[in-house]
């Protein structure tokens, strides 16, 4: 086990169980063992690990990796859908789409904040994203070519995200689990909106129906890849399951998703582009065709259709916004506000304090839109 830093030892005092044993006369090595035992017991008992609790370095690192990747996915994921805001074909759809993209920004905010409880800053995480040292979900490296892609993303991509994320609401790390509870509620709105968009197209003109089928054809396989590599090839799965960061294997979740989607596709009057897809009575699940993992690996390596474009837009927005963030920081120094949280980073204090509150109570257009 990696050495416990002094800082983490101090933090460990917050957990009652850790304190009782760590404070004993065993010396550092003994304290280590005791802290590890307390952590293991807490995880085994399905207790939540909180930011001030002692935790193994590898657990912390694994969470940072996963939460940062998740946060990055939310903000990169805004791009393919924002691509259609200016062309949304009705004002109602425009409101729904704008609200959805806004939600994804909000998810990014929650997740960066949750990850910050592990001792990394949003700034640091963004720098790593921009440098290509932290990932985001590969699904967003595919282009949105038609309006129906907005529906396919809602139905399939948000749908796959929910399947992945609902178990995360019981993740062993408290701040992550709590963020996921909020996020999952909104993701299920997104999924229903996407489904309803496709349903409308499916019942529309021949041109609209063709558009919907084409979008589903293009998004189906990448959506299945969102669950990650098969279990026998997944690098982080086993350890994450032991830590109860993850509760189900990639293949289990993928199967669950396929089983959910098949009847929904039928109801939409759309086909899924897999000739091997059929119900298996014996297994009580749908069998489906082989996934092209070479494509998955290529997209992961940066060779997908939009990797370069997404990262370039992200970097550009960040670089072009630098003078704005600098101005806000400089203004905050000149005019310190007494009510400001002392520990809030500069980029948080830039925004008027009413904004997030406004976003949450922003029911009029959103409520109409999500109904």
């Amino acid at each position: 086990m990696a050495a416990v830093t002094a800082d983490q030892t101090t933090q460990g005092q917050a957990r009652g169980t850790a304190q009782a044993t760590a404070g004993g006369p065993d010396g550092p090595a003994g304290a280590d063992v005791a802290q590890q035992a307390a952590f293991d017991a807490a995880v085994a008992a399905d207790e939540r690990i909180e930011p001030r609790d002692w935790m193994p370095d590898a657990y912390r690192a694994s969470l940072v990796r996963q939460m940062a990747q998740h946060a990055h996915s939310e903000i990169i994921g805004m791009q393919p859908e924002a691509n259609w805001i200016s062309r949304a074909p009705s004002l109602r759809r425009k409101a729904i789409l704008m609200a959805k993209v806004q939600d994804e920004a909000g998810h990014g905010l929650y997740l960066y904040s949750a990850a910050e409880t592990l001792g990394t800053s949003r700034e640091e995480m963004l720098d790593k994203l921009h440098a290509g040292r932290q990932r985001y979900s590969s699904i967003f490296n595919y282009p949105t070519l038609t309006w129906a892609d907005v529906g396919a993303i809602g139905w399939l991509v948000d749908g796959a995200a929910i399947t992945n994320q609902v178990p995360l609401c019981r993740c062993s790390y408290g701040p992550y689990a709590r963020a996921m509870v909020r996020i999952c509620k909104e993701e299920s709105f997104h999924q229903r909106q996407g489904y309803e968009l496709l349903l409308t197209l499916g019942r529309g003109t021949p041109g609209q129906r063709a558009m919907a089928q084409d979008a589903v054809n293009r998004w189906w396989w990448p959506s299945l890849m969102m669950f990650g590599p098969p279990d026998d090839a997944s690098a982080h799965s086993a350890q994450s399951m032991t830590w109860k960061i993850k509760r189900h294997s990639n293949d289990e979740l993928r199967q669950r998703f396929v089983d959910i989607c098949v009847p929904q596709a039928e109801a939409l009057g759309l086909t899924l582009p897999d000739p091997d897809l059929r119900w298996n009575e014996e297994r009580g699940h749908h069998d489906f065709g082989a996934i092209d993992w070479t494509e998955f690996q290529e997209v992961l390596k940066g060779n997908g259709p939009c990797n370069e474009q997404r990262l370039t837009q992200r970097r550009r927005a960040h670089e072009e916004g630098a003078w704005v963030r600098d101005a806000a920081a400089s203004y905050a120094l000149k005019h310190p506000a007494p009510t400001r949280h002392a520990h809030a980073p500069a980029h948080i204090t830039e925004a008027p304090h009413t904004e997030m509150h406004q976003a949450e109570m922003h029911t009029p257009p959103n409520a109409e839109a999500t109904a």
């Binding site: 009705s90 004002l91 993209v101 909000g106 003109t205 806000a328 400089s330 925004a351």
Partner: protein
């Protein structure tokens, strides 16, 4: 209904412009804030256009010359300071307008009473950012001043009386000037003057004369809807 179209088009067009920021904002909080404002405006636009007819027909099937928005709201986003200057000018105007409409008890009183709360937040947002950028760094100060100066010529049009909007237009103008001047001065910015007599000023948006960027904006906004005549979405 001229008045509903004028006010509805203002909200629709500005909402569209703000929507163009999605995925490009300088900080994540502003992704949320700008989308928030865009959604408020779109909500207002939908109510107003529905008073005048079918909201989608009006938004997607009118020609450029039939739009009645002021030219200020159709101006491209520019940099963040430029967008904030546009927000400041428009939100102070819209707040004054809606406050009078809400108090007046006419056709728009109900809508205005609800919208004025949203617009108060828009003004707050624009004011805070004008202060931060004006009184931030040397660079932000210069950029903010450029935005304030460039858009100033589009503000005169805001106070041309709109038929069917029964308010005290001169006092709307006086109040607007006092508020905007106060914010700009506090932000250490120079309050623009003029334009000098004989200089071109904007002012025919309400009559359906728009600026070049508006045609492109509409082309993008209307293209999909127009490509599938009669389809529902």
């Amino acid at each position: 209904m001229t008045a509903a179209l004028a006010l509805g088009d203002d909200a629709l067009v500005l909402s569209h412009r703000l929507g163009e920021w999605a995925g490009h904002a300088p900080v994540l909080e502003e992704e949320v804030a700008l989308a928030n404002i865009a959604l408020d405006l779109l909500g207002q636009a939908r109510v107003l256009l529905s008073l005048a007819g079918d909201e989608d027909e009006l938004a997607f099937l009118r020609e450029e010359r039939a739009f009645r928005n002021v030219q200020l709201v159709e101006q491209p986003n520019g940099d963040f300071a430029h967008t904030i200057a546009r927000q400041l000018y428009f939100s102070v105007y819209q707040r004054g307008l809606y406050e009078q409409l809400a108090a007046g008890g006419g056709d728009f009183a109900g809508l205005a009473a609800k919208a004025v709360k949203e617009v108060a937040y828009h003004q707050d947002h624009a004011t805070h950012w004008t202060l931060r950028l004006g009184d931030g760094t040397e660079e932000s100060h210069q950029r903010m001043q450029r935005g304030v100066d460039a858009l100033w010529r589009f503000t005169g049009e805001l106070f041309q009386p709109v038929e069917g909007v029964e308010i005290d237009w001169p006092s709307l103008h006086t109040d607007w000037l006092a508020t905007v001047t106060g914010v700009l001065q506090q932000a250490t910015l120079t309050v623009p003057t003029g334009p000098g007599s004989g200089a071109w000023t904007a002012g025919a948006g309400r009559q359906g004369i728009h600026t070049e960027p508006f045609g492109r904006m509409l082309a993008e906004m209307q293209h999909l809807h127009r490509s599938h005549p009669g389809a529902s979405w």
